[in-house]
Amino acid sequence: MAQDAPAAVGARLSPKLDEASLIRAVQRGDQDAFEQLVRAYDQSVLRLAVNLLRSQEDARDVFQEAFLRVFRSIDSFRFDCSFHTWLYRIVTNICLDYLRKRKVRKEEPAVVDTPEGPLDRMNDFEEEAAHADPERAMRNVQLGQRIEGALGGLTPRERMVFELRHYQGLRLRNIGEILGTSEEAAKNCLFRATQKMRAVLGDFQ
């Protein structure tokens, strides 16, 4: 399970400046501070977008839109929650908009047909996939298709909670705070998501 909790992200900040000082410096218009702040979080933001949206182009758009919103509204950040939570509210809102739009328009599938069977173009992200043996690659592709199908059956909100808990390693309390809901609601969402996933993938061992 991938873990990318806020503490781990914060550890990427320079020891010279704590996060609050960095944010205040950004609010004063300090470019170096903004770059440092972006670089502390941008890998996890991009990974979240890529994993959720399964599209490089969409992930790139989300990345840009999210950090531009940070840039435009950093003055309104009043330290009444962590910067991580504030940033992730922005990112998850943008991603949820993308996921909801996909529910109403059929997206181009990430998996394309080739003479050797279906190929997931997103495998270009995974260095290991390019060198895997053919049988293993085929099994991975089949499993990938089933997982995509299972993930596709989740509502955008279930998908988001599952992504933040399973792949980003955030606590449900924090997820509730990000999504503007209670920890209990996040728990229920995670339960529904795992039940749906197991209903589709249950016979896979």
Binding site: G29, D30, Q31, E35, R39, L46, T194, G202
Partner: protein
């Protein structure tokens, strides 16, 4: 704790979201209930399968995102003069975020999608007595960026005690606007597409020129940038503008070179998509060679598919 409640708690247990006392009770139940233990195992298997789908974005994608962001930040920050002020670095700035400009380096030159071309000309004029006339704050308008080179006690003849001498370097911007089908504007944008110090300007120029790829000089420029530009983003942008000409022998020749030589998989993927969009019997040997040497799965499979569509063998014998 009964089986129904345990089933609901298993995902939370797995993710470590249960309070310690509830976790203890659940573990006691799992020790004595084979059905619920299978449920827990099933949850573990699901999680392991999902772990294998975790993706790490390519470093190149992250780098491109960072570049795009900084360019966008500059565009937002630069043009709006909201009360000019001196920054702590001694640079006259239109508003607070323009203080970032010096570090933005390659993105400093504005070049928008509306075919508005702005070129900066460095005057490098020093304000020495007699050389530039009396200094006036009113002359510092937003189109002149002044940097303080040095501040020293004045030592020229006739200087008064306590007088200081400030040397400014000034960069004066000049804005030229017009339509791209104006030959003078097009010539400037073609030149900007070769600016070796500024990939941002090259990218913007190529992006603008893509809409004029029916012009022969523009197409030549796009071919040149596709084959030669050191920045993969610029090469990809140039390739976009050539998509309507993938049947042209000269374009196909460059695409083939790119497919064989480009170090960046994203560019090779775009090149193979463009090349194989047209069935071409002359490409059989070439595509067979790509299949042999290419290490990107997608590129290799696109070549294999193109060969099979032409009823050609995949390997060389």
């Amino acid at each position: 704790m009964n089986c129904e409640s345990v089933t609901k708690l298993i995902p939370l247990y797995f993710y470590g979201e249960l309070p310690p006392e509830e976790e203890d009770r659940l573990e006691q139940h799992l020790d004595t209930c084979a059905a619920c233990a299978r449920e827990a195992e099933s949850q573990r298997a699901l999680s392991a399968a999902l772990d294998r789908r975790a993706m790490q974005p390519a470093a190149a994608l992250l780098a491109e995102c960072r570049h795009d962001l900084m360019r966008a930040v500059y565009r937002e920050g630069a043009p709006v003069p909201r009360g000019a002020d001196f920054s702590p670095r001694g640079t006259l700035v239109p508003h607070r975020f323009a203080a970032w400009l010096p570090s933005l380096g390659v993105w400093r030159m504005p070049l928008g999608a509306s075919a508005l071309l702005a070129l900066g000309f460095i005057a490098a004029r020093l304000t020495t007595p007699g050389a530039a006339g009396p200094f006036s704050f009113a002359s510092l308008t937003p189109d002149v960026i002044s940097s303080v080179r040095s501040v020293q006690p004045a030592s020229h003849d006739g200087s008064q005690p306590g007088e200081v001498r400030i040397v400014l370097d000034e960069t004066r911007q000049r804005v030229i606007s017009g339509k791209l089908n104006d030959s003078n504007i097009q010539r400037l944008v073609l030149a900007a597409a070769h600016d070796e110090n500024n990939p941002g300007v090259r990218w913007e120029s190529v992006d603008l020129l893509n809409s004029h790829s029916d012009s022969s000089p523009v197409r030549e420029l796009l071919l040149n940038r596709l084959a030669e530009d050191p920045n993969p983003g610029v090469r990809l942008k140039a390739l976009e503008g050539l998509k309507a000409y993938t049947g042209d022998p000269e374009v196909r020749k460059v695409l083939a070179q790119v497919l064989m030589r480009d170090e960046y998989p994203g560019v090779r993927i775009a090149a193979v998509d463009a090349l194989t969009a047209h069935a071409d019997g002359k490409m059989v040997g070439f595509l067979q060679g790509v299949v042999q040497k290419e290490d990107n799965t997608y590129v290799r499979r696109r070549c294999v598919k193109a060969l099979q569509d032409m009823n050609a063998s995949v390997g060389t014998f």
